[in-house]
């Protein structure tokens, strides 16, 4: 069953159409990249998929179930996990605690009043593994607000992975990273590819073209093109609307 089907999605902010009749699918194990200029509505799309804002019209299906009106926490519980473009972590918690919270969210109810969570192997074990996965194990005991920017981005990713999602929504995971950090993340995403269905919003075109199975180009809330990397590269429409300038510069 197709993990994600978006049909006719609409979202207006006042007079501005941030999402304008968008259709999009993410197939099982597919890495689907969404690119587009600033303000195209990429983050707004992810916010609607994760349930943080409600669409005005349209439909979102996850594995055949209509989740258009499901609350955000339930979407996470059924396997949709996201990261944020602007780092959003529990700043006063350690890196390990941050990821342990992600694990705990998916480990049944949290009405446990007596045993210390810090010594709960069922939480710290998978949390440590997720930190390892993103290459942040050595910073497990550092407070999140003391991590470098790139490390916070890695933490974002670890939290998203620790919920064992089926669909990953990644909002510019490499934003603001150094060249080397970005390369690490690209390598990580390449390793994750195929095991998860991934919707990747990213500005780094090299990364996108290296990783994506399919690419959707978003402009003013509309998908002006959708296809394989080769199709997108070759599309005159896309070159004109979006890639054109960059290619010309290069």
């Amino acid at each position: 069953m197709t993990p994600l089907v978006v049909a006719g999605l609409q979202k207006r902010f006042g007079g501005l159409a941030a999402t304008d009749g968008l259709d999009l699918t993410v197939a099982g194990g597919e890495l689907h990249a969404v690119i587009g200029p600033n303000g195209a509505g990429k983050t707004t799309l992810i916010n609607q998929l994760s349930g943080e804002i409600r669409p005005d019209a349209g439909r979102i299906e996850f594995q055949g179930v209509d989740i258009t009106h499901a609350p955000a926490h339930r979407r996470s519980l059924i396997g949709i996990s996201r990261s944020y473009q602007i780092t959003s972590v529990l700043r006063g918690f350690t890196a390990l605690q941050n990821v342990a919270m992600a694990v705990q969210a998916h480990a049944g109810h949290s009405f446990g009043f007596w045993s210390p969570a810090a010594r709960d192997r069922a939480l710290t074990g998978p949390a440590a593994a997720a930190l390892e996965q993103v290459g942040l194990a050595h910073r497990a005991q550092a407070r999140a607000d003391e991590l470098a920017h790139g490390e916070q981005r890695q933490l974002e990713l670890a939290m998203a992975l620790a919920t064992r999602p089926r669909l990953l929504l990644l909002d510019e995971p490499m934003a603001g990273m150094s060249q080397r950090e970005a390369e690490n993340i690209v390598a990580l995403l390449a390793a994750l590819k195929g095991r998860y269905s991934i919707l990747l919003v990213e500005h780094d075109m090299d990364a996108v073209f290296a990783l994506a199975d399919r690419i959707t180009v978003l402009v003013y809330g509309r998908a002006i093109a959708c296809g394989t990397t080769d199709e997108i590269r070759a599309s005159p429409q896309v070159r004109e609307a979006y890639l054109g300038d960059e290619e010309a510069e290069a």
Binding site: L90, F93, A102, Q104, H106, S110, S115, L123
Partner: protein, 325 residues
């Protein structure tokens, strides 16, 4: 740091446990009353701090729950019900229902709106209590005898002191477990970044509501004890000033720790006591000035502590001890 954090609660509770002995030896039963009061307000501040310090929810209406506890004792006593179990049971039951309903409304808001709406609920109950003519209205009602808990003779000030002490110590321990358990981590996570907690999969409202009710019930318990201590139930217990005092105690002592608010309550009440009874025979009528303007002096002290000690008085003490040792 670890050791200081472990040692301080033991030292602090040890000193509290010795107060009746000192009061006895010096023949000053007055100390017993002051420290009973300190512990009752310390318990209330501890309860409020569960949601304020650990949940980031600034309730400006927790005096309401002190009032529910006190009035449960007062009203039942007025009808000839002297059983402490009935007092406590009724207080907790009414408190739980009130907190559940009020919490459900208030927790839909956040930030400034939450502060204002909790205040509004407390004011409603305050005026409700003032309107209870048959129970003393404005003046409140005096309670002829303390709650009867089987063989526990609360009428004896020392017994009452140790009952309050035991309840405070037990609450401290239970909350120590709670804030480090899964539940407490969710609460603290909501304080850090609730939006992220929801995205992680937590239905945050139910956890915040449970914490709000627990926090309210600790204040209800403090209210029952307060009524027993003063043998009085008054609308004044529910005034917004009392809610404010609890917040000040928390800030003064430090909201990052469990013991902080209790230390804050001790400091504020002790300072208040010293300033209002200031008799050092200083020249130029300084004593009288201090007695008359103690609130201004206390206010200045609070400002200094809150501005200079980020972790409050207790956090500062622990930090110093950790560096010295």
């Amino acid at each position: 740091m670890r050791d200081a954090r472990r040692a301080f609660p033991v030292v602090f509770l040890g000193l509290l446990a010795l107060v009746p002995v000192v009061a006895h030896l010096t023949g000053e039963p007055y100390y017993l009353t002051v420290f009973s009061r300190i512990m009752v307000f310390g318990l209330a501040a501890l309860g409020l701090n569960l949601i304020l310090g650990f949940g980031g929810l600034v309730s400006f209406g927790h005096a309401l729950y002190l009032g529910i506890g006190a009035y449960a004792v007062g009203i039942l006593s007025a009808h000839g019900v002297t059983s402490g179990f009935a007092h406590l049971g009724a207080a907790l039951a009414v408190g739980a229902v009130a907190a559940l309903l009020i919490g459900l409304v208030c927790l839909r808001t956040s930030g400034m709106a939450f502060i204002m709406i909790t205040l509004a609920f407390a004011q409603m109950f305050y005026f409700l209590a003032v309107g209870l003519r048959q129970y003393g209205g404005d003046d409140g009602l005096s309670i002829p005898a303390r709650s009867a808990f089987g063989p526990l003779a609360l009428q004896d000030a020392t017994v009452l002191y140790y009952v309050i002490f035991a309840l405070l110590a037990a609450t401290l321990y239970v909350l120590h477990r709670v804030v480090h358990a899964r539940f407490g981590m969710v609460l603290q996570g909501c304080r850090e970044n609730e939006r992220r907690m929801i995205a992680l999969g937590f239905p945050t409202l139910r956890y915040k509501l449970a914490a709000y009710v627990a926090s309210a019930l600790i204040c209800v318990l403090a209210g029952v004890l307060l009524a027993n201590l003063t043998q009085y139930a008054s609308p004044a217990y529910m005034q917004w000033v009392v809610s404010g005092d609890l917040i000040v105690m928390i800030l003064f002592g430090g909201m990052g720790t469990l013991l902080g608010p209790v230390v804050g309550a001790a400091a504020i009440i002790a300072i208040e006591d010293v300033l209002t009874a200031f008799r050092l025979g200083l020249p130029w009528g300084i004593d009288q000035v201090v007695n008359a303007h103690w609130m201004a002096i206390l206010g200045a002290l609070i400002i200094v502590v809150v501005l200079t000690l980020k972790q409050g008085l207790y956090g500062w003490l622990v930090h110093r001890a950790a560096r010295a040792g």
